[in-house]
């Protein structure tokens, strides 16, 4: 079941990305990446099994953000992505700080079950949220440089995207899992999570290569 939802999610998110790009061009990609980052923060607290690999949810939307950033680099140059990372850092920090601060305010006795669940999820999630933001912005910055350099050396979209995905997703997985679970889990478990996340994210990144071609053809 999860594998089917996983594939549907890839298709759905890709369609949303292309729709926003077609409608609003560069601004649409910015909006997509902005929305996706905030939502991926909410999703990654849940863990699921996809193709028998245990991972935090939100990795599809996370990886498609990189595809969106690659489209920006491809069409508008690397400086635009730096501007995007600035917006992204600011936006995600503000969003998680607001959610965590509200979770720390005394809950009402009205609708108590929901309030307790809300507090339980968000109160101690700062570390995971922070891990996601740092991993995302750091690796987006590196991805931007790498994609641009690969494009300069060999002007082939599939080479630039696949190579940058393989390298950058490895770095992203290490940063995210280490910050989120260091000390909390054993070294072996951390290693397992890194490998699992890396395999699935690379898979999504490679599968999503045609999106850059489609976006590149759009006028």
């Amino acid at each position: 079941m999860n594998n089917i939802i996983f594939m549907v999610e890839i298709i759905l998110i890709s369609i949303i990305l292309l729709f926003l790009f077609k409608k609003y061009k560069k601004e649409g990609l910015y909006i997509f990446i902005f929305i996706a980052t905030i939502i991926s923060n909410m999703m990654l607290l849940k863990t699921v099994e996809i193709f028998s690999i245990e991972v935090n949810l939100g990795l599809v939307i996370d990886t498609i953000i990189f595809i969106g950033a690659n489209i920006i680099t491809q069409k508008y140059g690397p400086d635009e992505v730096i501007k995007l990372i600035r917006y992204l850092l600011l936006g995600s920090f503000v969003s998680i700080i607001m959610i965590i601060l509200f979770s720390n305010i005394n809950s009402s006795i009205l609708n108590q079950v929901t309030n307790s669940s809300y507090d339980y999820i968000n109160k101690d999630a700062f570390r995971i949220y922070l891990a996601n933001i740092l991993a995302m912005s750091g690796s987006l910055w590196f991805n931007n440089i790498l994609y641009y350099q690969l494009r300069k050396i060999k002007n082939k979209i599939y080479i630039s995207n696949i190579l940058s995905t393989i390298i950058v997703q490895f770095i992203e997985s290490i940063i995210f899992i280490t910050i989120a679970y260091f000390i909390k889990l054993s070294f072996y478990e951390i290693l397992q999570l890194i490998v699992g996340r890396y395999i699935l994210k690379s898979l999504v990144g490679i599968i999503a290569t045609p999106i850059i071609y489609i976006a590149n053809e759009m006028k």
Binding site: I31, I39, M42, E49, L57, Y87, G91, V94, M98, V113
Partner: protein
Amino acid sequence: MDVLLFLLLLIMCTLLIYLSYRFFDKEGLYYLLTLMIITSFSLSFKIVNILGFDFNCNVITTVTIFSILYILLEKNKKKENKKILEISIISIIISIIMILILNLYIPSVNDIVSVDIKNIFLTNYKILIIYPIILLGSEISIIYIYNVLKKEAYNSIFVISSIVCLSLGFIFCILFNSIGYLFALSLKDIIRLILMNYLVMILINIIYSFVIKRVLRLKKVNYE
């Protein structure tokens, strides 16, 4: 402590409106609108209690969304207003799709939060459905009321925001709380929640009026 946290959040939102426009111009306000819509949506499920008053967490963010709208309406040409609604609809639809996907996945054996996620989103499916609809309805109404009042030569944004808050704010609170908590809370609790939300909304709106006035006086500065 709770009051301090609440004030901190209020100051944060106020500063965000000011800084977004000062440093990123209208573009910054559009991104802030997106950010506030998604955050507000996620906050709409919790009720807090501060100094004995119960109200929804999303009151601050909802008034922030309204304030961003006033500034955009003042700065935009009339034909650009469609973009505000489009961006809001897109943000909400993507959020709902993602929340549904989040709940469709079967959790792993080590997962400890899916029960709570279900408690938040699926148990409160009425809020999940009604909040986006009311928010969009409010945005459309604000644009309409703004245009009508401008035609009637009400040029003060303070007057416009006060009229909108007093009328639309009340309708917003009634609809959101009565539909969102229908059968979940007693009628007495729902009425109390409506009144408290409305009161907090008015208070925040008064504070924001000064911020909006200040932002509208800002001249565009190029920081590149």
